[in-house]
């Protein structure tokens, strides 16, 4: 079987209009296989957030191709790309972005809101996702009643609830203290062990070192890539019908 990456970034550039134009990415090529745990590390201004936005299909590249599970984003209509995000990509943000007026359960269930799944099923799957991150008991709580680490666990559950092909995490420990950050990283590791494909964007080399693959980015270029870990099965497994 040929190597088909879950995420395939092919010679991508991204420029923002300005005088002179800001060239955030200057030709990035990166393929991430099924089941990988990748840390993308770089200082601020290196283009790592832009890369995450392009990988997450939240923005389109100036040139080059982004393929998610083999689907070329450039050829897809906006609404199809939105559906791709709804079903195949999960996001974890530094600021959590939880809805304070909804329960933990409904926050997680909202991860499936735009995938066309009825409320009852969304809630059932949210319960499972909350069990996975160790917050099964707190499903009726409001995010404001939770600690920072618990809130990030809720956000992680929301990212995982749709069993996406890839999870993109942007500085997932950035708003947390050292110990809580470690527990979140441990959770990410545990999810990776369970088979999830996860990309963590960070400025912290120590965090990137903990991943099975470390990609360094600087001034819009990839300057180092440890490559897929030995023994990782990188073949794309058939996706579940979504």
């Amino acid at each position: 079987m040929t190597y088909t990456p879950v995420l395939d970034v092919d010679d991508v550039t991204k420029s923002y209009p300005g005088e002179p134009p800001v060239r955030a990415l200057r030709g990035v090529t990166l393929a991430i296989g099924q089941g990988e745990l990748v840390g993308i590390v770089g200082p601020s201004g290196s283009g790592k957030t832009t890369l995450l936005q392009l990988m997450g299909t939240l923005d389109r590249p100036t040139s080059g191709r982004v393929r998610i599970t083999g689907l070329d984003v450039a050829t897809m209509a906006d609404d199809d790309v939105a559906y791709l995000r709804a079903t195949r990509i999960g996001f974890i943000f530094q600021q959590f972005f939880l809805n304070e007026h909804a329960t933990v359960l409904d926050n997680v269930a909202d991860g499936l809101l735009y995938a066309g799944i009825p409320l009852r099923q969304r809630r059932q799957r949210a319960i499972d996702a909350l069990e996975l991150v160790g917050l099964g008991e707190r499903r009726g709580a409001r995010p404001t009643q939770l600690s920072g680490g618990q809130r990030q666990r809720v956000a992680i559950a929301r990212a995982l609830v749709g069993q996406p092909a890839i999870v993109l995490a942007d500085e997932p420990t950035g708003n947390l203290d050292q110990a809580t950050g470690q527990s979140i990283l441990a959770l990410i590791d545990q999810l990776h062990q369970a088979g999830s494909t996860i990309v963590v964007i960070t400025h912290d080399h120590a965090i990137a070192e903990r991943m099975t693959r470390k990609v360094e980015i600087l001034d819009g270029h990839i300057v180092a890539d440890t490559g897929p870990a030995a023994g990782t099965d990188l073949r794309l497994r058939p996706l579940e019908a979504s």
């Binding site: 939240l58 689907l71 559906y83 791709l84 709804a86 996001f91 943000f93 809101l113 735009y114 929301r158």
Partner: protein, 402 residues
């Protein structure tokens, strides 16, 4: 491997949309309430103005209907030469033969006779009272009744006996009937037998002093020609009878006959809208406009405040259309809330006022349905621009802009 994907399209379910669109209302109750209040005031004033005018009209029409709309009057008009065209004495009997006519009664103005309290009143002080000969079953036909004493009967119609209309009694200063009460009519005493209640349909009766036909001929030199014929027709034959009356009453000179339907004048009066209605409707419309500006304002602020929510929803897979629909339906919901409160307030104030006036409460369909529709349309129009702005927001800007 590159494939051009056509992924399954899906829409938000209605229940999800309802939940999403009420987020802003549930989480910011005071703001939503104040915002809806503007629309509520506008809708309430419009509903109340329309409801009050409809209720008062209904009240008046109800009163008219109780009196009967089938009363027709035939009165003598003018001849070609300008004199009075007398109705033939046979006219009442002829009219009574028209199919559909139920009752025919007459009065005849006794020319040259005036009524005074006593002989010492100067003859110029006639009080504008008319002395009229009246037929014996006049009262039910003109929808009035005796307030005191009794009406003329076959015996008293032969004698110098008078019955006073409500206004006539007042002008003569007679408030009670007691034995021997009399007035000075056409140069001789007439005993007062009774006083009538006001006749709403035929106010001419009110200012009349009624005497019997035989008495008028015997004592007052009356020529026995009726001057006004009052008749009741079957409700379904009123128009048909109306068409035949002039020719039947005076076949030789139909143009010298005036035919009228007293209730129709009152109905026209009830229909006439107060000029103030227009003013209050205008004020209501202004309040609605201000409410619309309020909704637009609140929605713009809401979109600005909820940038990160919008970005997150896009990241979770919401399309631009999903975002647009969410904010648009939130604005419509705000409008609808205002509309519902407004219709309820307007209806309640109408009901209270109508109750105190003893009218039936009438809220015209166009008032409440129009109020609802207007508030929904206002919500949609006011929410359109903010919703488009929310949908245009790029997810990266919404999520990463500081």
């Amino acid at each position: 491997m590159t494939s051009t994907a056509t992924l399954p399209r899906r829409r938000l379910q209605l229940s999800d949309l309802a939940r999403l669109s009420s987020v802003g209302l549930r989480t910011r109750k005071l703001r939503a309430g104040l915002c809806a209040l503007g629309i509520a005031i506008g809708v309430a004033s419009i509903v109340a103005v329309l409801g009050l005018s409809a209720s008062s009209e209904a009240g008046l029409l109800n009163e008219i209907n109780l009196l009967g709309t089938n009363l027709l009057t035939v009165s003598n008009g003018q001849s070609f030469t300008g004199g009075t065209a007398e109705l033939p004495t046979t006219a009442p009997a002829m009219i009574g033969r028209i199919s559909g006519v139920q009752q025919v009664q007459t009065t005849g103005t006794v020319s040259g006779a005036n009524a005074y309290r006593n002989p010492y009143i100067p003859s110029g002080n006639t009080n504008a009272l008319a002395v009229q000969a009246a037929s014996l079953d006049l009262l039910p036909v003109v929808a009035t009744s005796v307030a005191q004493g009794r009406y003329l009967n076959a015996a008293s119609a032969q004698e110098p006996v008078a019955v006073l209309g409500a206004a006539a009694a007042q002008r003569l200063g007679i408030v009670r009937i007691y034995p021997g009460e009399r007035i000075w009519v056409g140069g001789q005493w007439f005993y007062v037998a009774g006083i009538l209640r006001p006749a709403v349909l035929v106010s001419a009766i009110d200012s009349s002093v009624l005497v019997g036909y035989p008495a008028a001929e015997k004592y007052l030199g009356f020529d026995a020609h009726p001057s006004t014929i009052y008749l009741r027709a079957r409700n379904d034959r009123v128009n048909a009878v109306d068409d035949l009356l002039a020719a039947t009453a005076n076949p030789e000179n139909p143009s010298g006959v005036n035919v009228s339907q007293p209730s129709s004048a009152l109905v026209a009066q009830a229909d006439a809208k107060s000029a103030l209605n227009g003013l209050f409707l205008g004020l209501g419309a202004v309040a609605l406009l201000v409410g619309a500006v309020g909704v637009a304002n609140i929605m713009i602020i809401s979109v600005l405040e909820r940038r990160s929510e919008i970005g997150l929803r896009r990241a979770l897979g919401a399309t631009r259309g999903d975002i647009r629909t969410q904010f648009l339906s939130e604005a419509v919901l705000l409008g609808l809330l205002g509309g519902a409160v407004g219709v309820a307030l307007g209806a309640a104030s109408t009901a209270v006022y109508a109750y105190t006036k003893g009218w039936a409460t009438v809220i015209p369909t166009e008032a409440w349905a129009g109020g609802f529709a207007a508030s929904v349309i206002i919500g949609a129009v006011a929410g359109l621009m903010p919703a488009l702005r929310a949908a245009r927001l790029s997810p990266t800007q919404a999520l990463w802009a500081v």
